[in-house]
Structures are given as structure tokens and as C-alpha cells.
Symmetry: C2
Subunit: 517 residues, 2 copies
């Protein structure tokens, strides 16, 4: 046995054998032990087999966080099929594009998303659909009331195999399906445990959507560690605060906007009062998903809330660099050190940058994606000598701690969701009246940032900002829609005509300063 | 990046970057932080390079547990050289055999073992020797006062590469060098952490010799986890008990004989008194190295001592199956469940045995050795379809928990050391007066078991038991020497003449019962 071909006993099955009665996942009032989750995953796998799902099939899932979602993830593992979790915030057009691009063999949806799934079905009439009923405490799960087919199910997990394909956009504006292998999940989970510590009594609160890597990776850690996940369908700061006080949560993953709202709700609570903190059972608030406002970190330090920042991305299977709890006070603004299996380099001008010098963040290691599904060119562009180019900018201090300065030069992070200017631009450019578009982020008190667009119209065309906004709304998820559309005579461009996106914020500032807005 | 070629940042270097001032290892009054251990390993690597040690060289080490031993282990990693730790209990003849068999490029020894090393040097005049001075708090380390050579040192660890070769005997009586890769160490450390939990504040007490896998693997866990090792040169139950009370030890690895002596010493202490226990800081007493007497387990349960049994072997890089702390009370006589990366099968008559049915224990997974150095045939014999045949006998209960019935049918475990009858038999058989020999274990109040021999003399030969004992003492480590030698007219044999070793204990019992002893 060497490292070339590592297979491990099925993670969930192992939990069901080791801790059958231990809580695996709770969502609202419904909860399953590992034994029950194991049973549900097997049952669902047999139903999916009966529906025709086979090894290697890519199955798109359009569903909110629920017990069924969790069973579904593990059911696909047992069939050797691949999960393609769809972002519920996307438009019909975006969803159809992804389903087609990934060559999904089937679309499974929950009751909440039946109408949207119906629309996708009408747009893609060849695509088989199936309903996933929500799991309950009674353990009832119905997949379109399908019978179970007695197929052989996998009992081993091949670390080289693809677990999921998660779409992420890039500077090109073209979404790409990042391949997530079982090995990436395993190495990420292990790296996280070595950094944060691991206790069999841990309870990880997941209020991030499971269609993002930040949520999905919590599910995988749960079965790799054998710990409980407290899953939430929606983020409500009051309810999450209550859980932290009452449910012995030890770790929670959040983005900055969530934590801000949680602190505000904590202060709003008459009993706790301003400056209140969480109980000592909460040992780690894992804070990711983009830049963190310094005052938020200071506020947490003041309240003794155990926040650790993390720098992660889909292509690194969530966390790539995470502060250790013992460094949280010493290096509060840092994202920390690479997880044990991860190598990190800062490259400036094709050379490793000196400490303190900013450059592009490159990553390597077994937690990094092998590439984008069906996108050989994009994959080749993303890797340099085996190193993954994140496009993000940061520097290392003299102790090797990472400070992230900017997510990809032009990336807008709005409430933890990544918004890619190029994607919005290409939508607006497709409008017949539009000649040129430039999109950048502006500060947003609620979401951190939100996108705004500068539009140059074709000679002789007329269109209102509202008309363009309506046009964008049909094609873009709500969080990607520009909060303002400005008409401009021209856009900042290089001599070769390439948009200089980094000058747009200055343009925006000028508009503000001159009172033009 | 896929699973075929996993390299990780050097474990010790990472600790030195993450926790430079944290205690890495303490031995007696001497102690090093991770930064200091890192510096010492680099310095020693450069000295070894200056002495001619190169990538792929196999370097034999004849030394007691010390800080220098730890630095030496990591220095070889940085050179890409392979550690061959020698068992200090072996005779000159056994040591020379191993050094020759492994094709050691060099023998390094500490001051305590200078005389024995000198004898090896005289027996193998081509073998270069070098002295390893003991490390001290001042950080002085001298390798024969060699200069340092400024060679490029490795900063990455290839999980497929060989870290060490550890000799272990087998049913053939021929010692074999088991290959221990970095990947085996990594996967074993991770599997252990997932089972036992992991805290950055852990302190692991190592009173097992570092030349055994049980000791060596603690050193590797220390740098993989970033935790402190409290290292002891010798086992003294009073001193170990004191450490458990005063030094915030969280985990200790012991064999049954050690634990028995620790409890006896605890009771001998006037203050604590009979039935005393250890402080709550001690969260795990990892009990391996062979069968555990049931009364010892019961005594520990009664005292609330957090004992967890483990079934391990050199070829599995120490632990393969370990009880989880939460099962310790529920399944006290069990060795537990396979570590997460390990697969286990019980095979009886070439078929998987049913629950409760005993059979041979087979293992598979990334913690299992790829084979024996230079022994293709022995390697081929040890593996069946990718599964490693341990030769040990056990059964699984209906919950999948392992109960070890017998280490290899004929293995004698004496004070945690494995004693192979075939090895003793082949030594006695080489005496000119001896025609046949059979060796088995007898109960020993101090060591659990000790070996005894039945000898059939050649027709017309005469020799005394004392003469044969002296002969064996020259060739066998003390713990392998038969505690008694009985002369017999014949030995139990199959029709084809093969010794039926399993009938020897009955023969021994008969001798006892008839008063013949």
C-alpha cells in the first residue's frame, strides 16, 4: 500500500458503526443519529439507483439546507455519483447554463424549489427531474415515491474520486465548475482539526448554505470526525445566538455580515446587554468569506469571543489559511498560517515576494482542486508549475502569517457571496443598446460591498437605467444585480482597449465628491 | 494535485514557524522548544552531510532515548536519509546481523553505547562510526565534533518516501526490516487524533524506547500535531507517576507491565494510598504491546483511570485498532475499532469470519507497511490481495469491536517485547549437540510471559542445560533467552515432521502437574 491509491472505509458508515446513537445532524426540530443518517443515505441511494442514477453521473441538486440534503450528499457517495449543488440565489438562466455546462444527468429539487425546478425542466425538456422530500424525525424520506433498487453500494471512498462540482466564476466572467475530490475534503478536514483541535464532543453549527463549499465541507468534517452538525435552513441572528447559548455548540462558521448581525442581536437582548459574550462552550468562531472589518475583530477581542479568521476558496475546499486559536489575539488582522497540508507562496513579478511585500497568493497541496470540469484551458491557466494562482492579493509578515489585502483585484464580496464584475458586465453587454460596461464594488453598510455599473451606450441608442436593471434582473441572481447603473461617456481603458477596472472605484469616488450622485 | 504524489511541508519546520517557543521535547532536566529542535535538527543534518550521509543512505542508530535522538530523527528527514533504530537489548551478534542485512552506510551511537558500538565496529571494520553527544538545555550537540556542511536540506516531506526501517521477527525466526514510510506515520497520527481527540495543549509522555515503533511514532505525532513530548530514558514507575501528577501530561503510552508497576507504586505512596487515581489532566492511558490481564483493566476502571486498549504492530506503524475513550467502559476487554484509515478483516479458512468467530487478523490501509526491505519473498508472503496478514488471532463482536485472542499463534510477549520462538529455536539448533528444539512461553509474574525451550539431543551427545543457556546468551538478547531448558526424548511433530508448537504449552503443563519440574 502506498500513497498512490488511497481508499478509506466510508466515512458515514464508520460513524454509524462507532457511534450509532450519537447525533449526526439536527435541523429545526428534526434530527438523525449516525445510524439513522446511514440508513437514510442507503435508502436514498437505492431510490436514486432505481431512478437510473449510476456511477459517474452528475446529479444537480436544487434544495435548501435540510436533513434530506445531508442524506442526499452521502447517498451519491454510495453510488459513486457526483453532486452538483446549485446556488438557490441564481436566476433561471444562470441555473440552466450550469446544468447544461456540467452535463447533469438529472435535477433533484425540494418542495421549496419545485416551481423553479419546473421552469428549468421546461427550458431543458430532456432533463429528468425528481423530488426530494424533506427528512423528518420519523425518518420518512421520499424521492418521488420511488422504490428502492437493490444495487451494490460502495463501502470505500477513493480519495482521488470526484465528490462534487461547485461552480465559481472568475475574472473572465465565465462560471467554472471546480472539481472537489474526496481527498480534498479529507485533507481539509484533517488540516482544520490539527489547527483548531478536535474533540469527539464537538458540535459544528452550519448556517451557511450547503451549496457553497463553506457549508458542504462542514458536512464532510462531521463524518470524518464523527461529530454533530447543527444545521440551519436560514440565517437568523436571534435564533443562532439562542443556539450558541443553549445547544452546546463548540464551533460555528460565519461570514463577517452574519457575525455583525449576531453581535447586534446579542446587544439588543435585554438580558445580555451591550458587550455581552457567548458561553465558554463555544470554542471557535471561524470567520471566512472575505475581508473582515477591523472594528468587528476588535469588538470580538474585547468581548472575548474566540474568533479566528480564515482565508478560503472553493478551489481549496474552503479553508486554506486559518489563524490558530492561540494566535487569535496576537495576530488579529491576519488570516493565519496555511493548514498543515497546504503550501503557500506570495508571488510578485514572477518572484517570491519578501516579507511585508504584497503579491498574488499561490497555493499547493492535497486540498487544492485538480481543476475545472470540462475546462482544460481554464485549468491550465489557473496552475503555474503545479501551484494554483488564486488571483487574490496578500502578504506574509516576518513570521509567515498571511494578510489578505484584496480578493482577486476586482472581486466584489457581498454578504459572503462572491460577485464577479466580468459576469455582470457580460450580461449588460448583451443588451442591444449597450456598447461598453464596467462594474466595480461600492461600500454597503449591510453587505460589506455591492456592485455598481458604469454603462456606455451605443451611438443613437437610448435606454433607461431602470430598463437595464430589469434586464439584468432576469439574468442575474439578486446579489449580483448592480445597486446603481451610471451612464458614462467613456470608460477607463488601456491603449489596447482593455477595461481598467481598478480605476472604476476612483471614478465612483469622483462622482460622490462632485455631488454628481 | 491528486493523491498520487502527496508532499507536505516539513512537519518540524512548520511547528517551528507556528509555535517557535512551545515546548517540543523534554528529557530529564533538558528541554527544547520547537525553534530549538528545528535548529538542532538542521545543524545535525549539516554535520551528518559533512560526514558523508546522503539521500537514501540507511543510518543505524544505537542510542538511548534523549533529545539528541529526537534531533537525529529529524536531521535524517532533512537529508532524505533513512533511520535504522537498533534495539539496545540485542546481542552483538544480533546487532551485526541487522546492520549487515540493512546495508547500513554508517553506525551512530551515544556515549552509553560506545563500548557496544566499538565491538560492532571491530566485527564490521568497513562500517563508519560516529558519536552522537547528548543534547542539553544549552543546545550543545556534537557529532564527533564534525563541521557543518552547507548542503541544501529538504523542506518537504514525500509521504511515499521511507522514513525508517524497523526490524521485527516473524514465524520464520528470521528478523525482517519493516519499511516505515512518512505516509504511514502521517496517517497513523491523524487516525489516532481522530479517535482520541487532539488539543494543541496535549503533552504525550514517552517512556517506551524510541527504537520501537510505539516510541518513534510518538515523536512523529509530536511534530504532526505540534504538541510536547515528555521523554524518558528509562521507565521508573515512581518517576512516571510523579510526572503524571506534576507535569500536566495528557496522554501516556504504556504496556501492561508498566501500568501494573505504576499502580503498585501509586499504592505504595503513603499520601495517595490504595485505590488512588491520576489527576484529570491525564485524559488517555494508551495501553498496547500485547494482551492485557483482565484484572488490570478492571482495576483501572474502578479507579477511573482513562485506559484505552490498542492493538498495534510495527508493520501498522503502531496503533491499528484502538478503543475510543467513550467506549472504554462499555467494551473494556476489546482493542476497539480500526483507526479511521484502516480496514480490518478476520479470515478463517479463507473466508471472512462471522461475528464472534475467531480467525486471523488482516489489515489494509495507508498506515500499513509496503513491505520488508530487501525481502521480496517475505513481503509477498505477508500480503494476500493487498491485505496484510498479521498472523494474530482475534474476533469481532456484533458491533465490529476487535478482541485479540492471541498474538501470532506462537508469539511470546515478555514485558512488551515480542519474542519469536522460531528465532530462539534456530539459535539452539545451531549448537552441535542439539537435534531438535521447541520453544513456547510460560506465565511469568513479572513480565507476563517468558520463553522456555524443549531440547532433543543428538544420539550420543551430551550437554548441560547451563551450557546451552550460556550458548544462547551469546546470541540472544536477554529478554529472548529461555528461562528454562528441558531435555525431551522427542517433540510433538506432524506426520511430515513439522514441529507442532501449539502442543508445547500442554507438555509444559504436564511436566508441572506430574511434578517433573
Amino acid at each position: 500500500m502506498n500513497t498512490t491509491d488511497i481508499v478509506l472505509p466510508d466515512w458515514l458508515a464508520r460513524c454509524a458503526e462507532n457511534r450509532p446513537a450519537h447525533l449526526a445532524v439536527q435541523c429545526g426540530q428534526a434530527h438523525w443519529s449516525f445510524a439513522e443518517l446511514d440508513r437514510q443515505a442507503t435508502r436514498l441511494a437505492r431510490q436514486l439507483a432505481s431512478a437510473g442514477v449510476r456511477e459517474g453521473h452528475r446529479v444537480a441538486l436544487l434544495a435548501a439546507n435540510s436533513l434530506s440534503y445531508v442524506a442526499f450528499v452521502h447517498a451519491l457517495t454510495r453510488l459513486g455519483a457526483i453532486l452538483v449543488p446549485l446556488n438557490l440565489r441564481l436566476t433561471l438562466e444562470e441555473l440552466c447554463w450550469q446544468v447544461r455546462d456540467v452535463h447533469a444527468s438529472r435535477l433533484v429539487f425540494d418542495a421549496d424549489n419545485a416551481s423553479l425546478a419546473g421552469e428549468i425542466g421546461r427550458a431543458l425538456p430532456q432533463l429528468p427531474l425528481a423530488t426530494l422530500a424533506s427528512g423528518s424525525t420519523q425518518g420518512e424520506m421520499v424521492l418521488s415515491e420511488l422504490p428502492e433498487k437493490d444495487v451494490p453500494l460502495r463501502t470505500l471512498i477513493d480519495l482521488g474520486a470526484t465528490q462534487a462540482i461547485l461552480y465559481t466564476s472568475g475574472t473572465t466572467g465565465q462560471p467554472k465548475g471546480a472539481i472537489i475530490t474526496y481527498g480534498m475534503q479529507w485533507w481539509n478536514a484533517v488540516g482544520s482539526a490539527l489547527n483548531l483541535g478536535h474533540s469527539p464532543d464537538d458540535r459544528w453549527l452550519a448556517c451557511l448554505p450547503l451549496f457553497h463549499i463553506g457549508g458542504l465541507s462542514i458536512l464532510m468534517r462531521s463524518v470524518i470526525y464523527g461529530i454533530s452538525v447543527m444545521l440551519y435552513k436560514k440565517f437568523d441572528p436571534v435564533i443562532i445566538n439562542q443556539a450558541l447559548f443553549e445547544d452546546k455548540i463548540t464551533i460555528i462558521s460565519v461570514v463577517a455580515v452574519m457575525l455583525q448581525r449576531m453581535l447586534a442581536a446579542l446587544d439588543g437582548d435585554g438580558e445580555a446587554g451591550k458587550g455581552a459574550t457567548y458561553p465558554a462552550t463555544l470554542r471557535c468562531v471561524l470567520l471566512g468569506g472575505g475581508p473582515v472589518p477591523r472594528p468587528l475583530l476588535e469588538e470580538c477581542l474585547l468581548r472575548d469571543i474566540p474568533v479566528v479568521q480564515t482565508y478560503g476558496l472553493t478551489e481549496a475546499c474552503s479553508q486554506a489559511v486559518t489563524l490558530s486559536p492561540e494566535d487569535a489575539k496576537r495576530k488579529p488582522a491576519s488570516a493565519g498560517r496555511p493548514l498543515p497540508p497546504v503550501q503557500l507562496r506570495i508571488i510578485d513579478d514572477n518572484r517570491p515576494a519578501a516579507p511585508g511585500e504584497p503579491g498574488e497568493i499561490f497555493l499547493q497541496g492535497p486540498t487544492i482542486t485538480p481543476g475545472y470540469a470540462g475546462k482544460a484551458e481554464a485549468t491550465a491557466q489557473a496552475f503555474h508549475d503545479g501551484w494554483f494562482a488564486t488571483g487574490d492579493i496578500g502578504y506574509l509578515d516576518k513570521d509567515g502569517y498571511l494578510y489578505v489585502l484584496d480578493r482577486r483585484a476586482d472581486l466584489i464580496i457581498s454578504g459572503g457571496e462572491n460577485v464577479y464584475p466580468a459576469e455582470i458586465e457580460s450580461v449588460l453587454l448583451s443588451h442591444p443598446a449597450v456598447e461598453g460596461v464596467g462594474v466595480c464594488g461600492q461600500a454597503d453598510p449591510q453587505w460589506g460591498q455591492s456592485p455598481v455599473a458604469f454603462v456606455v451606450l451605443k451611438a443613437g441608442s437610448t435606454v433607461s437605467a431602470q430598463e437595464l436593471a430589469n434586464y439584468a434582473a432576469q439574468k442575474l441572481a439578486r446579489y449580483k444585480q448592480p445597486k446603481a447603473i451610471y451612464f458614462a461617456g467613456q470608460l477607463p481603458r488601456t491603449s489596447s482597449g482593455k477595461l481598467i477596472r481598478r480605476e472604476l472605484p476612483t471614478l465612483l469616488q469622483t462622482l460622490h465628491n462632485t455631488g454628481a450622485l
